[in-house]
Protein backbone atom coordinates (compact mmCIF):
# COMPACT_ATOMS: atom_id res chain seq x y z
CA UNK A 1 0.00 0.00 0.00
CA UNK A 2 1.31 3.45 -0.82
CA UNK A 3 1.68 5.54 2.31
CA UNK A 4 2.74 8.82 0.84
CA UNK A 5 1.82 11.44 3.45
CA UNK A 6 1.64 14.12 0.86
CA UNK A 7 -1.32 12.57 -0.99
CA UNK A 8 -2.89 15.92 -0.42
CA UNK A 9 -0.66 17.56 -2.93
CA UNK A 10 -2.91 15.72 -5.28
CA UNK A 11 -5.21 18.58 -4.44
CA UNK A 12 -3.09 20.52 -6.90
CA UNK A 13 -2.73 18.09 -9.72
CA UNK A 14 -5.62 16.66 -11.70
CA UNK A 15 -6.11 12.97 -10.96
CA UNK A 16 -6.60 10.32 -13.60
CA UNK A 17 -9.74 8.24 -13.37
CA UNK A 18 -9.17 5.32 -11.04
CA UNK A 19 -6.44 6.93 -8.99
CA UNK A 20 -3.64 4.52 -8.32
CA UNK A 21 -1.05 5.57 -5.85
CA UNK A 22 2.46 4.72 -6.98
CA UNK A 23 5.46 5.18 -4.73
CA UNK A 24 7.62 6.17 -7.70
CA UNK A 25 5.31 8.86 -8.94
CA UNK A 26 4.80 10.41 -5.55
CA UNK A 27 8.50 10.21 -4.81
CA UNK A 28 9.19 12.21 -7.93
CA UNK A 29 6.48 14.67 -6.96
CA UNK A 30 7.99 14.99 -3.50
CA UNK A 31 11.37 15.77 -4.97
CA UNK A 32 9.87 18.63 -6.98
CA UNK A 33 8.58 20.07 -3.71
CA UNK A 34 11.74 20.03 -1.59
CA UNK A 35 10.71 21.49 1.73
CA UNK A 36 13.32 24.21 1.49
CA UNK A 37 11.38 25.85 -1.33
CA UNK A 38 8.01 25.76 0.47
CA UNK A 39 6.70 28.82 2.28
CA UNK A 40 5.72 28.61 5.94
CA UNK A 41 3.04 30.58 7.73
CA UNK A 42 3.67 32.25 11.07
CA UNK A 43 1.95 29.30 12.74
CA UNK A 44 4.35 26.67 11.35
CA UNK A 45 6.11 25.93 14.64
CA UNK A 46 2.78 25.79 16.42
CA UNK A 47 1.56 23.19 13.92
CA UNK A 48 4.59 21.05 14.71
CA UNK A 49 4.02 21.55 18.45
CA UNK A 50 0.43 20.39 18.00
CA UNK A 51 1.57 17.28 16.15
CA UNK A 52 0.51 18.46 12.70
CA UNK A 53 1.43 16.31 9.69
CA UNK A 54 2.89 18.84 7.26
CA UNK A 55 2.42 18.49 3.52
CA UNK A 56 3.07 20.74 0.52
CA UNK A 57 0.05 22.67 -0.69
CA UNK A 58 0.07 25.49 -3.24
CA UNK A 59 3.72 26.23 -2.48
CA UNK A 60 3.21 26.23 1.29
CA UNK A 61 4.00 23.68 3.98
CA UNK A 62 0.64 23.17 5.66
CA UNK A 63 -0.87 20.76 8.20
CA UNK A 64 -3.09 18.18 6.54
CA UNK A 65 -4.18 16.80 9.89
CA UNK A 66 -3.26 16.67 13.58
CA UNK A 67 -3.12 13.58 15.82
CA UNK A 68 -6.94 13.50 16.11
CA UNK A 69 -7.13 12.61 12.42
CA UNK A 70 -9.31 13.94 9.61
CA UNK A 71 -12.58 12.30 10.73
CA UNK A 72 -12.43 13.52 14.33
CA UNK A 73 -11.38 17.00 13.20
CA UNK A 74 -14.27 17.09 10.73
CA UNK A 75 -16.88 16.01 13.28
CA UNK A 76 -15.54 18.37 15.94
CA UNK A 77 -16.00 21.32 13.59
CA UNK A 78 -19.63 20.41 12.99
CA UNK A 79 -20.43 20.00 16.68
CA UNK A 80 -18.09 22.48 18.36
CA UNK A 81 -15.34 24.72 17.01
CA UNK A 82 -12.16 24.19 15.01
CA UNK A 83 -9.21 26.41 14.18
CA UNK A 84 -7.69 26.33 10.70
CA UNK A 85 -4.55 28.16 9.60
CA UNK A 86 -5.49 29.67 6.24
CA UNK A 87 -2.66 32.17 6.09
CA UNK A 88 -1.57 30.74 2.77
CA UNK A 89 -4.49 32.55 1.11
CA UNK A 90 -3.75 35.93 -0.43
CA UNK A 91 -4.94 39.04 1.42
CA UNK A 92 -5.03 42.33 -0.46
CA UNK A 93 -6.16 45.90 0.13
CA UNK A 94 -7.45 47.89 -2.80
CA UNK A 95 -7.58 51.68 -2.35
CA UNK A 96 -8.27 54.68 -4.54
CA UNK A 97 -11.46 56.54 -5.35
CA UNK A 98 -12.11 54.40 -8.44
CA UNK A 99 -11.58 51.07 -6.73
CA UNK A 100 -15.24 50.03 -7.12
CA UNK A 101 -15.52 50.50 -10.89
CA UNK A 102 -12.06 48.96 -11.14
CA UNK A 103 -12.92 45.79 -9.24
CA UNK A 104 -16.19 45.53 -11.16
CA UNK A 105 -14.15 45.51 -14.37
CA UNK A 106 -12.55 42.28 -13.17
CA UNK A 107 -15.28 40.38 -11.25
CA UNK A 108 -18.93 39.58 -11.95
CA UNK A 109 -20.36 40.86 -8.66
CA UNK A 110 -22.12 44.07 -7.65
CA UNK A 111 -19.82 45.97 -5.32
CA UNK A 112 -21.20 49.44 -5.93
CA UNK A 113 -24.12 48.79 -3.59
CA UNK A 114 -22.30 46.60 -1.06
CA UNK A 115 -22.60 48.41 2.29
CA UNK A 116 -19.55 49.14 4.44
CA UNK A 117 -18.73 46.19 6.65
CA UNK A 118 -20.27 43.67 4.24
CA UNK A 119 -18.59 40.94 2.23
CA UNK A 120 -19.51 39.18 -0.96
CA UNK A 121 -18.26 36.14 -2.86
CA UNK A 122 -17.41 36.66 -6.52
CA UNK A 123 -15.25 35.33 -9.35
CA UNK A 124 -12.61 36.88 -11.58
CA UNK A 125 -13.31 36.02 -15.21
CA UNK A 126 -11.26 35.90 -18.42
CA UNK A 127 -12.12 36.91 -21.97
CA UNK A 128 -13.72 33.50 -22.62
CA UNK A 129 -15.95 33.93 -19.58
CA UNK A 130 -13.92 31.33 -17.72
CA UNK A 131 -13.26 31.60 -13.99
CA UNK A 132 -9.78 32.79 -13.05
CA UNK A 133 -10.38 32.49 -9.30
CA UNK A 134 -13.08 32.83 -6.69
CA UNK A 135 -12.72 35.54 -4.05
CA UNK A 136 -14.41 37.12 -1.06
CA UNK A 137 -14.32 40.92 -1.25
CA UNK A 138 -15.26 43.13 1.71
CA UNK A 139 -16.21 46.79 1.67
CA UNK A 140 -13.93 48.03 4.44
CA UNK A 141 -14.90 51.68 4.11
CA UNK A 142 -12.00 53.40 2.47
CA UNK A 143 -10.60 50.23 0.96
CA UNK A 144 -11.67 46.86 -0.40
CA UNK A 145 -10.37 43.83 1.47
CA UNK A 146 -9.83 41.04 -1.06
CA UNK A 147 -9.05 37.41 -0.18
CA UNK A 148 -7.97 35.00 -2.93
CA UNK A 149 -6.99 31.33 -3.12
CA UNK A 150 -3.42 30.42 -2.23
CA UNK A 151 -2.90 28.55 -5.49
CA UNK A 152 -4.06 31.54 -7.54
CA UNK A 153 -2.61 34.41 -5.53
CA UNK A 154 0.40 35.00 -7.77
CA UNK A 155 -1.74 34.76 -10.89
CA UNK A 156 -4.45 37.07 -9.51
CA UNK A 157 -2.00 39.68 -8.23
CA UNK A 158 -0.09 39.80 -11.51
CA UNK A 159 -3.35 40.23 -13.40
CA UNK A 160 -4.63 42.95 -11.09
CA UNK A 161 -1.34 44.85 -11.26
CA UNK A 162 -1.45 44.67 -15.02
CA UNK A 163 -5.01 45.94 -15.17
CA UNK A 164 -4.28 48.67 -12.63
CA UNK A 165 -1.45 49.93 -14.82
CA UNK A 166 -3.78 50.23 -17.79
CA UNK A 167 -6.52 51.74 -15.62
CA UNK A 168 -4.17 54.36 -14.22
CA UNK A 169 -2.85 55.28 -17.63
CA UNK A 170 -6.40 56.32 -18.47
CA UNK A 171 -6.53 58.51 -15.39
CA UNK A 172 -8.14 56.04 -12.96
CA UNK A 173 -7.27 56.15 -9.26
CA UNK A 174 -6.68 52.70 -7.77
CA UNK A 175 -3.88 50.98 -5.85
CA UNK A 176 -3.19 47.47 -4.67
CA UNK A 177 -1.36 46.51 -1.47
CA UNK A 178 -0.45 42.91 -0.77
CA UNK A 179 -0.86 42.32 2.96
CA UNK A 180 2.17 40.28 3.92
CA UNK A 181 2.33 41.02 7.63
CA UNK A 182 -1.04 39.52 8.57
CA UNK A 183 -1.98 35.89 9.06
CA UNK A 184 -5.44 34.45 8.51
CA UNK A 185 -7.01 32.13 11.04
CA UNK A 186 -10.42 30.54 10.39
CA UNK A 187 -12.40 29.43 13.42
CA UNK A 188 -15.47 27.48 12.37
CA UNK A 189 -18.28 25.63 14.11
CA UNK A 190 -21.39 26.34 16.21
CA UNK A 191 -19.43 27.15 19.39
CA UNK A 192 -17.13 29.64 17.66
CA UNK A 193 -18.94 32.86 18.58
CA UNK A 194 -19.16 31.81 22.23
CA UNK A 195 -15.43 31.03 22.27
CA UNK A 196 -14.25 34.13 20.44
CA UNK A 197 -16.47 36.40 22.54
CA UNK A 198 -14.24 35.51 25.50
CA UNK A 199 -11.45 37.45 23.80
CA UNK A 200 -13.57 40.33 22.61
CA UNK A 201 -14.38 42.69 25.50
CA UNK A 202 -15.53 45.73 23.58
CA UNK A 203 -17.60 44.28 20.77
CA UNK A 204 -20.64 42.03 20.67
CA UNK A 205 -19.92 39.38 18.05
CA UNK A 206 -23.56 38.30 18.05
CA UNK A 207 -24.34 41.60 16.31
CA UNK A 208 -22.44 40.44 13.24
CA UNK A 209 -24.44 38.75 10.54
CA UNK A 210 -23.14 36.24 7.99
CA UNK A 211 -20.83 37.89 5.45
CA UNK A 212 -20.10 40.97 7.52
CA UNK A 213 -16.71 42.23 8.60
CA UNK A 214 -15.37 44.45 11.37
CA UNK A 215 -12.09 45.48 12.91
CA UNK A 216 -12.27 44.38 16.55
CA UNK A 217 -9.80 43.76 19.34
CA UNK A 218 -9.27 40.14 20.23
CA UNK A 219 -7.29 39.94 23.50
CA UNK A 220 -6.22 43.50 22.78
CA UNK A 221 -4.95 42.63 19.29
CA UNK A 222 -6.62 44.61 16.47
CA UNK A 223 -7.96 42.09 13.95
CA UNK A 224 -10.27 42.18 10.97
CA UNK A 225 -12.95 39.62 11.72
CA UNK A 226 -15.21 38.45 8.89
CA UNK A 227 -18.16 36.18 9.52
CA UNK A 228 -17.55 33.72 6.69
CA UNK A 229 -15.79 30.47 6.01
CA UNK A 230 -15.40 27.35 3.96
CA UNK A 231 -17.12 24.71 6.06
CA UNK A 232 -20.85 25.50 5.89
CA UNK A 233 -20.78 26.20 9.64
CA UNK A 234 -21.04 29.54 11.42
CA UNK A 235 -17.59 30.93 11.96
CA UNK A 236 -15.14 33.74 11.49
CA UNK A 237 -11.99 34.37 9.51
CA UNK A 238 -9.58 36.45 11.56
CA UNK A 239 -6.93 38.56 9.87
CA UNK A 240 -4.35 39.12 12.63
CA UNK A 241 -0.90 40.74 12.60
CA UNK A 242 1.50 37.83 12.05
CA UNK A 243 3.60 38.95 15.01
CA UNK A 244 0.61 38.19 17.27
CA UNK A 245 -0.88 35.25 15.36
CA UNK A 246 0.69 32.47 17.41
CA UNK A 247 -0.40 34.11 20.68
CA UNK A 248 -3.96 34.51 19.44
CA UNK A 249 -4.13 30.96 18.09
CA UNK A 250 -2.79 29.56 21.36
CA UNK A 251 -5.27 31.63 23.38
CA UNK A 252 -8.15 30.35 21.28
CA UNK A 253 -6.97 26.73 21.55
CA UNK A 254 -6.48 27.09 25.30
CA UNK A 255 -10.25 27.39 25.70
CA UNK A 256 -10.06 23.60 25.40
CA UNK A 257 -13.19 23.65 23.27
CA UNK A 258 -11.56 24.81 20.03
CA UNK A 259 -9.37 22.15 18.44
CA UNK A 260 -6.93 22.51 15.56
CA UNK A 261 -7.99 21.15 12.16
CA UNK A 262 -6.00 20.72 8.95
CA UNK A 263 -6.48 20.82 5.21
CA UNK A 264 -7.82 17.29 5.11
CA UNK A 265 -10.90 18.06 7.16
CA UNK A 266 -11.16 21.50 5.54
CA UNK A 267 -11.71 19.69 2.25
CA UNK A 268 -14.24 17.14 3.52
CA UNK A 269 -16.17 19.89 5.31
CA UNK A 270 -16.42 22.14 2.26
CA UNK A 271 -17.48 19.24 0.06
CA UNK A 272 -20.31 18.29 2.41
CA UNK A 273 -21.27 21.98 2.28
CA UNK A 274 -21.35 21.94 -1.52
CA UNK A 275 -18.59 24.55 -1.81
CA UNK A 276 -16.31 24.56 -4.85
CA UNK A 277 -12.57 24.00 -4.77
CA UNK A 278 -10.89 26.11 -7.44
CA UNK A 279 -8.65 24.12 -9.71
CA UNK A 280 -10.92 21.11 -9.37
CA UNK A 281 -14.60 22.12 -9.45
CA UNK A 282 -13.87 25.42 -11.20
CA UNK A 283 -11.13 26.42 -13.63
CA UNK A 284 -10.36 28.86 -16.39
CA UNK A 285 -12.35 26.85 -18.92
CA UNK A 286 -15.56 26.88 -16.92
CA UNK A 287 -17.95 29.84 -16.89
CA UNK A 288 -20.02 30.83 -13.85
CA UNK A 289 -23.12 29.59 -15.66
CA UNK A 290 -21.64 26.15 -16.31
CA UNK A 291 -20.41 26.22 -12.71
CA UNK A 292 -23.99 26.73 -11.46
CA UNK A 293 -22.91 30.10 -10.04
CA UNK A 294 -25.22 32.36 -12.04
CA UNK A 295 -26.46 33.73 -8.71
CA UNK A 296 -23.16 35.58 -8.38
CA UNK A 297 -24.25 37.89 -11.18
CA UNK A 298 -26.86 40.37 -9.98
CA UNK A 299 -29.50 42.16 -12.05
CA UNK A 300 -27.49 45.30 -12.78
CA UNK A 301 -24.44 43.36 -13.90
CA UNK A 302 -26.56 41.14 -16.12
CA UNK A 303 -27.89 44.27 -17.78
CA UNK A 304 -24.62 46.18 -17.96
CA UNK A 305 -21.94 43.48 -18.18
CA UNK A 306 -18.53 45.13 -17.94
CA UNK A 307 -16.63 42.08 -16.71
CA UNK A 308 -14.35 39.97 -18.92
CA UNK A 309 -16.24 37.44 -21.06
CA UNK A 310 -19.54 39.19 -20.33
CA UNK A 311 -20.98 38.63 -23.80
CA UNK A 312 -20.34 34.88 -23.60
CA UNK A 313 -21.65 34.62 -20.03
CA UNK A 314 -24.77 36.71 -20.69
CA UNK A 315 -25.46 34.67 -23.80
CA UNK A 316 -25.27 31.50 -21.71
CA UNK A 317 -27.69 33.01 -19.21
CA UNK A 318 -30.14 33.54 -22.04
CA UNK A 319 -29.58 30.41 -24.12
CA UNK A 320 -28.32 27.82 -21.66
CA UNK A 321 -25.15 25.76 -21.44
CA UNK A 322 -24.20 22.28 -22.62
CA UNK A 323 -22.87 21.07 -19.26
CA UNK A 324 -23.51 21.99 -15.64
CA UNK A 325 -21.92 21.46 -12.24
CA UNK A 326 -24.09 19.17 -10.13
CA UNK A 327 -23.95 17.32 -6.86
CA UNK A 328 -24.26 13.56 -6.73
CA UNK A 329 -24.59 10.76 -4.22
CA UNK A 330 -23.60 7.20 -5.02
CA UNK A 331 -23.19 3.77 -3.46
CA UNK A 332 -20.16 1.51 -3.39
CA UNK A 333 -16.60 2.76 -3.55
CA UNK A 334 -16.12 6.53 -3.32
CA UNK A 335 -16.08 8.21 -6.72
CA UNK A 336 -13.15 10.62 -6.94
CA UNK A 337 -12.03 13.40 -9.24
CA UNK A 338 -11.79 12.13 -12.81
CA UNK A 339 -14.33 9.30 -12.45
CA UNK A 340 -16.63 9.22 -15.44
CA UNK A 341 -20.40 9.63 -15.31
CA UNK A 342 -22.28 7.41 -17.76
CA UNK A 343 -25.92 7.04 -18.70
CA UNK A 344 -27.82 3.76 -18.72
CA UNK A 345 -26.43 3.02 -22.18
CA UNK A 346 -22.91 3.31 -20.83
CA UNK A 347 -22.25 6.52 -22.78
CA UNK A 348 -19.97 9.09 -21.18
CA UNK A 349 -21.96 12.11 -19.94
CA UNK A 350 -19.48 13.87 -17.70
CA UNK A 351 -16.95 13.48 -14.90
CA UNK A 352 -16.54 13.88 -11.17
CA UNK A 353 -14.50 16.89 -9.99
CA UNK A 354 -14.64 16.22 -6.23
CA UNK A 355 -15.78 13.17 -4.30
CA UNK A 356 -15.45 11.62 -0.87
CA UNK A 357 -17.15 9.49 1.72
CA UNK A 358 -19.08 12.07 3.77
CA UNK A 359 -18.08 11.69 7.42
CA UNK A 360 -21.45 13.05 8.58
CA UNK A 361 -23.67 11.13 6.18
CA UNK A 362 -21.47 8.04 5.80
CA UNK A 363 -22.32 8.10 2.13
CA UNK A 364 -20.41 8.86 -1.05
CA UNK A 365 -21.04 12.49 -2.03
CA UNK A 366 -19.40 14.75 -4.54
CA UNK A 367 -19.75 17.14 -7.41
CA UNK A 368 -18.93 17.09 -11.07
CA UNK A 369 -20.13 18.09 -14.49
CA UNK A 370 -22.76 16.37 -16.61
CA UNK A 371 -24.34 17.28 -19.91
CA UNK A 372 -27.38 19.42 -19.30
CA UNK A 373 -30.05 16.76 -20.07
CA UNK A 374 -28.76 14.77 -17.06
CA UNK A 375 -28.36 17.71 -14.69
CA UNK A 376 -31.81 17.63 -13.14
CA UNK A 377 -31.93 16.71 -9.44
CA UNK A 378 -33.00 13.10 -9.10
CA UNK A 379 -31.56 11.97 -12.44
CA UNK A 380 -30.25 8.43 -12.19
CA UNK A 381 -26.82 8.02 -13.72
CA UNK A 382 -23.77 5.86 -13.18
CA UNK A 383 -20.28 6.68 -11.99
CA UNK A 384 -17.38 4.45 -13.01
CA UNK A 385 -14.95 3.56 -10.22
CA UNK A 386 -12.04 1.25 -11.01
CA UNK A 387 -13.79 0.03 -14.11
CA UNK A 388 -17.09 -0.70 -12.37
CA UNK A 389 -20.23 1.35 -13.05
CA UNK A 390 -21.98 2.19 -9.78
CA UNK A 391 -25.44 3.76 -9.46
CA UNK A 392 -25.46 7.49 -8.72
CA UNK A 393 -28.16 10.11 -8.30
CA UNK A 394 -27.85 13.79 -9.19
CA UNK A 395 -28.41 15.67 -5.98
CA UNK A 396 -28.96 19.17 -4.65
CA UNK A 397 -26.27 20.72 -2.51
CA UNK A 398 -25.34 21.23 0.25
CA UNK A 399 -25.34 17.62 1.39
CA UNK A 400 -25.14 18.74 5.01
CA UNK A 401 -27.31 21.82 5.69
CA UNK A 402 -25.52 25.13 6.21
CA UNK A 403 -25.51 26.63 9.68
CA UNK A 404 -24.75 30.24 8.83
CA UNK A 405 -25.73 32.97 11.27
CA UNK A 406 -29.20 34.24 10.50
Amino acid sequence: VCVDLSLYMSMLAPLRAGFRCALARTAAYTRSYSTESLKRTSLYDLHLELGGKMVPFAGWEMPVQYPDGVLKEHMHCRSSSSLFDVSHMGQLHMTGKDRIPFIESMVVGDYATLPVGHSKLSVFTNEKGGIIDDTVITNAGDYLYVVVNAGCADKDIALMKDRIKAFKSKGGDVNLDIIEDHSLIAVQGPKTQEMLQKFCKSFDLSSMGFMTSHVVELNGIPCRVTRCGYTGEDGFEISVPSAKAVKLAKDILQTGEVRPAGLGSRDSLRLEAGLCLYGHDLNEDITPIEGSLAWLIGKRRREQGGFPGASIILDQLKNGVSKKRVGFVSTGAPAREGAQFTNDKGEAIGAVTSGTLSPCLKQVVGMGYVTTPYSKTGSQVQVVVRGKAQPATISKMPFVPHNYKK
Partner: protein, 150 residues
Protein backbone atom coordinates in the same frame (compact mmCIF):
# COMPACT_ATOMS: atom_id res chain seq x y z
CA UNK B 1 8.39 -28.37 3.98
CA UNK B 2 6.58 -26.32 6.57
CA UNK B 3 8.13 -25.99 9.94
CA UNK B 4 5.45 -26.72 12.51
CA UNK B 5 6.49 -24.01 14.87
CA UNK B 6 3.69 -22.33 16.73
CA UNK B 7 4.67 -19.83 19.31
CA UNK B 8 3.54 -16.46 20.49
CA UNK B 9 6.00 -13.77 19.57
CA UNK B 10 5.94 -10.25 20.89
CA UNK B 11 6.57 -7.96 17.97
CA UNK B 12 7.58 -4.37 18.58
CA UNK B 13 7.03 -1.84 15.85
CA UNK B 14 7.83 1.88 16.08
CA UNK B 15 4.15 2.61 16.49
CA UNK B 16 2.77 -0.16 18.65
CA UNK B 17 3.59 -3.23 20.59
CA UNK B 18 1.65 -6.06 19.00
CA UNK B 19 1.19 -9.57 20.23
CA UNK B 20 1.30 -11.66 17.07
CA UNK B 21 0.90 -15.41 16.90
CA UNK B 22 3.78 -16.65 14.84
CA UNK B 23 2.79 -19.57 12.67
CA UNK B 24 4.92 -21.58 10.30
CA UNK B 25 6.48 -18.39 8.97
CA UNK B 26 5.84 -14.85 9.85
CA UNK B 27 4.84 -12.32 10.07
CA UNK B 28 6.75 -11.24 7.05
CA UNK B 29 6.54 -7.89 5.34
CA UNK B 30 6.71 -6.25 1.94
CA UNK B 31 8.46 -2.94 1.24
CA UNK B 32 4.99 -1.65 0.38
CA UNK B 33 3.83 -2.19 3.97
CA UNK B 34 1.74 -5.33 3.79
CA UNK B 35 2.20 -8.14 6.34
CA UNK B 36 1.53 -11.84 5.91
CA UNK B 37 1.34 -14.59 8.54
CA UNK B 38 1.35 -18.13 7.19
CA UNK B 39 -0.32 -21.00 9.08
CA UNK B 40 0.54 -24.70 8.89
CA UNK B 41 -2.01 -25.38 6.18
CA UNK B 42 -0.39 -22.88 3.84
CA UNK B 43 -2.98 -20.14 4.31
CA UNK B 44 -1.53 -16.66 4.76
CA UNK B 45 -3.40 -13.90 6.56
CA UNK B 46 -2.66 -10.52 4.97
CA UNK B 47 -3.13 -6.97 6.13
CA UNK B 48 -1.39 -3.61 6.09
CA UNK B 49 1.05 -2.66 8.78
CA UNK B 50 0.60 -0.27 11.65
CA UNK B 51 3.10 2.03 9.97
CA UNK B 52 0.89 2.08 6.87
CA UNK B 53 -2.39 2.75 8.68
CA UNK B 54 -0.80 5.57 10.61
CA UNK B 55 0.52 7.17 7.44
CA UNK B 56 -2.75 6.72 5.53
CA UNK B 57 -4.93 8.25 8.22
CA UNK B 58 -8.55 7.39 8.88
CA UNK B 59 -9.70 4.52 6.65
CA UNK B 60 -13.30 5.07 5.53
CA UNK B 61 -13.78 2.37 2.91
CA UNK B 62 -12.20 -0.98 2.06
CA UNK B 63 -12.60 -2.89 -1.17
CA UNK B 64 -11.85 -6.58 -0.80
CA UNK B 65 -11.39 -9.21 -3.51
CA UNK B 66 -13.84 -12.00 -4.24
CA UNK B 67 -13.20 -15.38 -2.66
CA UNK B 68 -11.65 -17.60 -5.28
CA UNK B 69 -9.76 -14.78 -7.00
CA UNK B 70 -6.20 -15.57 -7.98
CA UNK B 71 -3.73 -12.84 -7.06
CA UNK B 72 -0.17 -12.37 -8.24
CA UNK B 73 2.71 -11.26 -6.05
CA UNK B 74 2.80 -7.44 -6.04
CA UNK B 75 -0.51 -7.34 -7.88
CA UNK B 76 -3.36 -5.22 -6.53
CA UNK B 77 -5.39 -7.31 -4.15
CA UNK B 78 -7.45 -4.71 -2.36
CA UNK B 79 -8.03 -0.97 -2.00
CA UNK B 80 -8.15 1.07 1.21
CA UNK B 81 -9.61 4.53 1.05
CA UNK B 82 -9.07 7.54 3.26
CA UNK B 83 -11.30 10.61 3.14
CA UNK B 84 -9.19 12.06 0.36
CA UNK B 85 -7.80 9.23 -1.71
CA UNK B 86 -7.67 5.53 -2.56
CA UNK B 87 -4.58 3.37 -2.07
CA UNK B 88 -3.95 -0.03 -3.63
CA UNK B 89 -2.96 -2.87 -1.34
CA UNK B 90 -0.61 -5.34 -3.04
CA UNK B 91 -0.53 -9.08 -2.48
CA UNK B 92 2.76 -10.12 -0.85
CA UNK B 93 2.83 -13.46 -2.71
CA UNK B 94 0.80 -15.21 -5.38
CA UNK B 95 -2.13 -17.28 -4.23
CA UNK B 96 -5.89 -17.71 -4.17
CA UNK B 97 -8.25 -15.76 -1.92
CA UNK B 98 -10.02 -18.12 0.50
CA UNK B 99 -11.56 -15.63 2.93
CA UNK B 100 -11.97 -11.88 3.37
CA UNK B 101 -12.66 -9.89 6.53
CA UNK B 102 -16.28 -8.92 5.99
CA UNK B 103 -16.31 -6.89 9.24
CA UNK B 104 -14.33 -4.20 7.41
CA UNK B 105 -17.42 -3.25 5.38
CA UNK B 106 -19.09 -1.79 8.46
CA UNK B 107 -15.98 -0.98 10.42
CA UNK B 108 -13.22 0.15 8.08
CA UNK B 109 -11.66 1.93 11.07
CA UNK B 110 -10.57 -1.48 12.41
CA UNK B 111 -7.64 -1.17 10.05
CA UNK B 112 -6.55 1.92 11.97
CA UNK B 113 -7.28 0.46 15.40
CA UNK B 114 -5.88 -3.06 14.89
CA UNK B 115 -4.01 -3.21 11.61
CA UNK B 116 -2.10 -6.36 12.53
CA UNK B 117 -4.84 -8.30 14.31
CA UNK B 118 -8.60 -7.69 13.93
CA UNK B 119 -7.94 -5.43 10.95
CA UNK B 120 -6.66 -8.32 8.81
CA UNK B 121 -7.93 -8.06 5.26
CA UNK B 122 -7.54 -11.24 3.21
CA UNK B 123 -6.63 -14.89 3.71
CA UNK B 124 -4.77 -16.48 0.82
CA UNK B 125 -4.00 -20.07 -0.05
CA UNK B 126 -0.39 -19.34 -0.91
CA UNK B 127 0.92 -20.94 -4.13
CA UNK B 128 4.37 -21.49 -2.70
CA UNK B 129 4.99 -21.13 1.05
CA UNK B 130 8.68 -20.59 0.42
CA UNK B 131 7.75 -17.25 -1.21
CA UNK B 132 6.73 -15.99 2.22
CA UNK B 133 10.13 -16.75 3.70
CA UNK B 134 11.74 -14.57 1.01
CA UNK B 135 9.91 -11.47 2.27
CA UNK B 136 11.31 -9.00 4.80
CA UNK B 137 11.50 -10.21 8.37
CA UNK B 138 10.69 -7.93 11.31
CA UNK B 139 14.19 -6.50 11.59
CA UNK B 140 14.46 -5.82 7.86
CA UNK B 141 11.01 -4.22 7.77
CA UNK B 142 11.74 -2.03 10.79
CA UNK B 143 14.91 -0.85 9.08
CA UNK B 144 12.90 -0.11 5.94
CA UNK B 145 10.32 1.99 7.81
CA UNK B 146 13.05 3.89 9.65
CA UNK B 147 14.48 4.95 6.32
CA UNK B 148 11.04 5.99 5.03
CA UNK B 149 10.29 8.26 7.96
CA UNK B 150 11.30 11.89 7.55
Amino acid sequence: MLRTLVSAVRVRTPYSSVFVRSFATGPRYTPSHEWISLDQSGVGTVGITDFAQNALGDVVYVELPEVGKKVAAKGTMSVVESVKAASDVYSPVSGTVVEVNSKLADQPSMINKSATTDGWMVKLKVDNPKDVEKLLDQAAYDKHTQSEKH
